[in-house]
């Protein structure tokens, strides 16, 4: 152990003595590691965001939407789900503790006094807030009676509050929705935007009965419904059961495609990760290339250094250094340089990814993982590319080395 420390102390001395070599190696490693740091942080950020969204969507939830994949692909949004489906699901799925139908109508004119505005109106039952774990922060959610009685009541998003009310308290006020007076009973907490840029706070929610009858002139069909299960761990199985159940209810033959789509938390994660993965791949390739460049810079500067320092190597060998002592010293020099380079790279990555976050609204999340990845990779570069020069130094014939 003493000997190991002795030899590493010689590495430290050499790292300090050969400043130019140290600078160039450190700099190139720092560049590579900073790219890697950004990648790891960005990937983690993407996943974290995905999981945040799933947490809001509800990890125990399924969303069933009208129209199959094929119909959607050609731009048809047929309504195939019915209030009857919702009732049947309620009856037949024991572990479904919440089943809520939903429909939406886009681009509806709403106004309050002289303020006019266009937004999307969502119809739901009284459980909207609970189903979406989306708290009502002012006033209250609507009630069973509101839904059964087709009452003109609404809970509204923060953005709508800003557009129509400014600083005024909206609870209890009447707004006009397509010329129908509707009373605001509650305000939803702020949710921000989705990764695709949709503003979640730009919405008005009214009882689905009111929406169907008064805005859509519809009695049967709905666009989606949402289910939450108490047995979250069997969600995949429930999804399959739901599929077969609805296919049977819709009298589909084996050859027919689904006329509905079931969205699960898993698919949301897949989608969100795919969204950020192209950028991550680009950065990943750039990072790996820059690490290789750093490695080659290191290997070449070290080979040069070994040549220049052959006399030193000969002197050490004459004084009793074994081959592995020389190997250890040069490898130590490489690893010390890349470790410090890696730490600098991590700081550079930290700073520049925060800039990236500002400029590109890129999701970044730093954990010990980015740090560990940077450190491990800088060691890998140090050992991987420092080994050959160190071997060369160790295997020099001492007499030849000292004669130079």
């Amino acid at each position: 152990m003493d000997k190991f420390l002795n030899i590493i102390s010689q590495s430290v001395v050499a790292v300090r003595a050969f400043k130019l070599r140290t600078f160039f190696c450190m700099f190139s490693v720092a560049l590579g590691i900073s790219a890697i740091t950004i990648i790891v942080a960005a990937t983690e950020g993407a996943y974290k965001k995905a999981y945040d969204i799933v947490a809001r969507f509800g990890p125990d939830s399924l969303l069933v939407t009208s129209g199959g994949e094929e119909a959607r692909a050609v731009g048809r949004f047929d309504k195939t789900l019915t209030l009857g489906d919702v009732e049947a699901v309620k009856q037949n799925f024991d572990t479904a503790y919440v089943v809520v139908p939903m429909s939406a109508v886009r681009n509806i004119n709403v106004s309050y006094r002289d303020k006019k505005y266009q937004t999307t109106i969502y119809g739901s039952t009284n459980d909207y807030s609970r189903v979406w774990t989306w708290p009502v922060i002012q006033g209250s959610d609507f009630t069973d009676e509101d839904v059964n009685g087709l009452r003109n009541v609404a809970i509204i998003g923060k953005y709508v509050v800003e557009q129509l009310f400014g600083n005024e308290d909206p609870v209890g006020k009447y707004i006009l929705v397509k010329n129908i007076p509707v009373q605001v009973v509650g305000v939803l907490s702020e949710r921000g935007t989705t990764p695709t840029g949709a503003n979640l706070d730009d919405r008005i929610v009214i009882p689905i009965t009111t929406l169907m009858r008064k805005l859509q002139n519809e009695t049967t069909y709905i666009s989606t419904f949402r289910i939450r299960f108490t047995d979250q761990e069997r969600l995949e199985q429930r999804q399959e059961e739901m599929k077969q159940f609805l296919r049977a209810r819709h009298n589909l033959r084996a050859s027919d495609p689904d006329d509905f789509r079931i969205v699960s938390p898993k698919e949301i994660i897949k989608f969100l990760v795919a969204l950020t993965s192209s950028l991550t791949i680009f950065l990943g390739v750039a990072g790996v290339i820059s690490l290789f460049v750093a490695g080659f810079v290191l290997a070449n500067l070290f080979l040069l250094s070994v040549k220049e320092r052959s006399k030193e190597i000969g002197i050490r060998r004459a004084a009793g250094a074994k081959k592995r002592d020389i190997l250890m010293q040069f490898l130590g020099e490489a690893v010390i340089i890349t470790t410090i380079g890696g730490l600098i790279g991590f700081i550079m990555g930290y700073v520049s990814s925060n800039l990236l976050k500002l400029i590109a609204e890129f999701e970044i999340y730093f954990s010990w993982k980015a740090f560990a990845a940077g450190l491990l990779l800088s060691w890998a570069v140090g050992v991987g590319f420092g080994l050959q020069p160190a071997r060369k130094a160790a295997n020099m014939n001492p007499i030849d080395a000292i004669r130079k």
Binding site: D2, K3, I7, A14, A319, G320, A321, K322, R324, D325
Partner: protein, 221 residues
């Protein structure tokens, strides 16, 4: 038992396709405590012989016993250990590490000791005092004169208390006054019990030794 016992040592170097026989069968005994000068013209094989004596190289054929142990066929690590513990080298052009201080240079052989020893720094300072450089411990080699650098090299060679001190033309780059000081230091070390082998082609310098061995074209004469 002799400290060094060489029997019919041959050394051949390969230069390209040609084999050049530099040592052509050398038999030599050096006893413990001796002060031997090896003399010969340039290219006669003195340095080659010293490298073999110091286990920096192995002979092509022949036997070399160091303190009774056959070393001509030992593995590299073992030769390193022997150099570290039993041999001190002094070179014509000093061969100090330029970026290390005088003290660090003297301590160099201790870095490669297999077992921890106490009091190394004190010993290094003591050796520097012995060669008259106690106040230069923190200097870099480039801040010293040639004679001073060679005395640092002597202190380094003595650091691990070797049985055999090998000096290859240690005064070759020094003026005659400084040279005789260096030789005096070596004589002092010898009188304290260290075996000294001094390579030179200067008659005057060689005359300080108790025995002179002459080598010519790879053979002792």
């Amino acid at each position: 038992m002799s400290l060094c016992e060489l029997t019919d040592i041959k050394k051949t170097y390969k230069i390209g396709e040609d084999n050049v026989e530099v040592l052509k069968g050398i038999s030599l005994k050096i006893e413990k405590g001796e002060f031997v000068a090896i003399m010969g013209t340039s290219g006669s094989g003195k340095t080659t012989l010293m490298n073999l004596l110091g286990c920096l190289d192995v002979p092509t054929s022949g036997s070399y016993k160091l303190s009774g142990t056959e070393v001509s066929s030992l593995p590299d690590d073992e030769l390193s250990r022997i150099r570290n513990e039993h041999i001190g080298f002094i070179f014509q052009s000093f061969h100090l590490l330029p970026y290390a201080t005088v003290l660090e240079n003297v301590l160099l052989p201790t870095l490669y000791l297999e077992h921890h020893q106490d009091g190394l720094k004190a010993r290094a300072l003591h050796l520097l005092e012995l060669v008259g450089l106690q106040d230069r411990a923190k200097f870099k080699p480039s801040q010293l004169s040639g004679g001073q650098q060679q005395r640092v090299a002597i202190a380094r060679a003595l650091m691990n208390d070797p049985e055999l001190l090998l000096a290859d033309e240690p005064t070759g780059q020094l003026d005659s006054r400084t040279a005789s000081e260096i030789i005096k230091t070596l004589s002092d070390m010898n009188s304290k019990g260290t075996t000294v082998v001094l390579i030179t082609h200067d008659e005057n310098i060689a005359s300080n030794a108790k025995r002179i061995v002459k080598i010519s074209d790879g053979l002792l004469v």
